[in-house]
Amino acid sequence: MRAAITTRPLDVAALLAEVADASCGAAILFVGTVRDMNDGRAVTGIEYSAYEAMAEREMRAIVHEAAEQFATDHVVIEHRLGALELGEASVAIAIAHPRRSGAYDASRFVIEELKRRVPIWKREAYADGTREWVDPSGANRGQHT
């Protein structure tokens, strides 16, 4: 079990190797990447920032909750910060589990919890030269420009 924030490119294959275990019949790697479109706007890159100490603490808590809830110790999360280009990986979650249903459920749990509560923010850069903080909740849409 491990959770980390990094500014280096994510080595997603290494994460999959890290969770591999002969007791596990299924491994799932989730990779979040920078999309070229969001809400109909052409995106050229995303800058990620975080409250790093709290983000790592929340990510570690999520890893432990997933391990307990889905009965596997083989859970790793890495989240990248800094300026990312299109197609680059911002987050990777690797899970190994004796059975595939547990692997899928644990993977989904981790990414949903990460998006719900880990204090990380992203500012998208658009093709028209503007930048905007992304608010997935929609609560402050249009307020932050």
């Binding site: 709290m54 990414i111 997935p136």
Partner: protein, 80 residues
């Protein structure tokens, strides 16, 4: 007592800074600290009830602060 308040992302932008040292009366709560921050230039652009954390843990407005606490005002999170 003194509490350090951290600001991030869009909230750091509207207040023009990433941290503020707040001097508060003993027994002051997270909500009291937020009211102080809201009184600063740009503070009126914070939403009515932003997410708050004390010493790396999400906290309610009623949470009593202690001297030296690290308070954080947390914009809508957007990880992943």
């Amino acid at each position: 007592m003194t509490v350090t308040a951290l600001l991030f992302a869009s909230y750091a932008d509207v207040l023009g800074r990433t941290s503020i040292d707040l001097t508060l009366a003993p027994g002051a709560t997270v909500a009291d600290a937020l009211a102080n921050i809201r009184a600063l230039p740009g503070g009126d652009q914070l939403p009515p009830q932003p997410l708050m954390a004390v010493n790396l843990v999400y906290a309610r407005g009623s949470h009593a602060l202690k001297n030296g606490d690290e308070l954080a005002v947390i914009p809508p999170v957007a990880g992943g």
